[in-house]
């Protein structure tokens, strides 16, 4: 069955006609051509497909697209500001070597954002738990954890957004 769904995507009101069996991941990549969100495992374990819905991280590969009606979706593209200015979390990942091949990065950065939005001063254990749903084959996670620690410092010095 098909339906036109309306929701907010990276701050913009959008609508699209979608099929009932589609997951949010496919619709983001194919209909909206936002290819920052990646397909990794298709089973909710690798986190490459992580996006934020109403600020909460979810695996878009397992999220029936009809459920996004009326909600606010943030993809990695939504973190970039005016004139291509990177979000402080993205900056921190760049500065601290948290990105190698980049495939896990969109999901990893969005999980970091969800974590820091809820807990601005996470301990190392809390950071590890916060990214426990995002797999990285390149970095060994050390630089990713450093990036998130740095991002937390940067964000708290900027004051509340």
């Amino acid at each position: 069955m098909k339906r036109v769904i309306e929701f907010t995507l990276n701050g913009n009101a959008v609508s699209a006609e979608v099929e009932s069996h589609k997951m949010l991941l496919e619709v983001l990549r194919d209909t909206f051509e936002l290819t920052g969100t990646k397909e990794g495992c298709s089973q909710g374990e690798c986190g490459a497909c992580t996006v934020l819905i109403d600020g909460v991280s979810i695996n878009s590969c397992l999220y029936p697209v009809f459920e996004v009606e009326g909600k606010s979706v943030t993809t990695i593209e939504g973190l970039v500001g005016e004139g291509g200015k990177l979000h402080p979390i993205q900056e921190a990942f760049v500065e601290n070597g948290g990105i190698q091949c980049g495939f896990c990065s969109p999901g990893m950065i969005l999980s970091a954002k969800a974590l820091l939005d809820e807990n601005a001063t996470p301990s190392e254990d809390e950071i590890k738990k916060g990214i426990s749903g995002n797999l990285c084959r390149c970095t060994g996670y050390v630089q990713i954890i450093d990036s998130i620690k740095d991002a937390a410092t940067q964000l708290s010095s900027e004051g509340p957004k």
């Binding site: 069996h21 089973q43 909710g44 991280s57 695996n59 029936p64 969800a114 426990s132």
Partner: protein, 286 residues
């Protein structure tokens, strides 16, 4: 992926009506983190999925001494509920160790139970806490003790047209403690073995004991014979060693990608011992 229709009823009555119209070609879906994956693999055939997400009455929590937990409350909510963590630590711990944050943000206790994996993390705590499950459908309502719910790997006593609406947990007695332990290869892994304990203590004597293990039998397993070893006994290191031996005999683990049967057998004994010690400590701290 196979195509399916997707319905979003706003009430239970609407949901039952949709299920009836579909004449057995539909499945109820909660968070979807188990079902969608199995549909993708072709393990489930469903012409339609009927989502329970929009049914508000299923997402209520009432904690008032005892617990009435709506089946559609996401793990995310349970993890962050400090009163629930204080009242029923084993349930809260099981939820916070399940899968990963993204899954926990949409997945539910109801879904975890209905999926009926032998390794279901929510099962051992709810078994030792004597949970009662409410099943509803067009035919009416029935209460099923959790001990009668699981029938085999992936199988429950539910009709396909029924919905698990509520999980009720009685108030914990004074001087009682409960615990949950899980061992996986890595943090978001399905359990190799998980275990829960519930003890009511009188001084150093155990007055009531409930023990359950998962991932080592066709269903999450209550260890009734082992419980009998502890009741009316003082908890000693020697008794716990004998308990561990009995647990090893009581389980029937398999070898699979996550672990071997031999390791699981030994691990069952170890985790149950640890769970008892932790529940004991919590009981006396009360």
């Amino acid at each position: 992926m196979k195509k399916f229709d997707y319905y979003q009823p706003r009430s239970l009555q609407e949901a039952y009506g949709l299920m009836e119209k579909q004449k057995g070609e539909a499945r109820f879906i909660a968070g979807g983190t188990d079902i969608i994956w199995r549909v993708k693999q072709g393990l489930i055939e469903a012409g339609a999925l009927i989502s329970l997400r929009g049914i508000e009455e299923l997402a209520q929590i009432r904690l008032n001494g005892d617990l009435a937990l709506g089946s559609m409350v996401p793990f995310r909510t349970i993890e962050r509920n400090f009163s629930l963590a204080k009242a029923y630590p084993s349930l809260s711990e099981a939820v916070s160790l399940l899968a990963n944050p993204q899954v926990r943000n949409v997945a539910t206790v109801g879904g975890n139970l209905c999926n009926a994996a032998p390794s279901a993390d929510c099962a051992p705590p709810l078994i030792v806490l004597d949970a009662m499950l409410t099943l509803e459908g067009l035919g009416g309502k029935r209460d099923v003790p959790i001990g009668d719910f699981f029938k085999g790997p992936g199988k429950t006593c539910m009709e396909k047209t029924e919905v698990l609406t509520q999980i009720r947990v009685p108030k914990m007695a004074a001087n009682s403690g409960t615990s949950f332990l899980k061992k996986g290869r890595v943090s978001q892994d399905i359990a190799m073995v998980n275990a829960a304990a519930f003890l009511v203590m009188e001084g150093n004597v155990c007055r009531k004991c409930r023990l359950a293990v998962g991932a080592v039998a066709p269903i999450p397993l209550r260890l009734t014979d082992v419980e009998g070893m502890l009741e009316h006994q003082e908890i000693s290191a020697e008794l716990l060693d004998r308990v561990a031996e009995k647990v090893e005999q009581a389980v029937s683990p398999i070898t699979d990608v996550r672990s071997t049967a031999e390791y699981r057998r030994v691990l069952s004994g170890v985790l149950v011992k640890k769970a008892i010690r932790e529940a004991h400590q919590r009981a006396v701290q009360q």
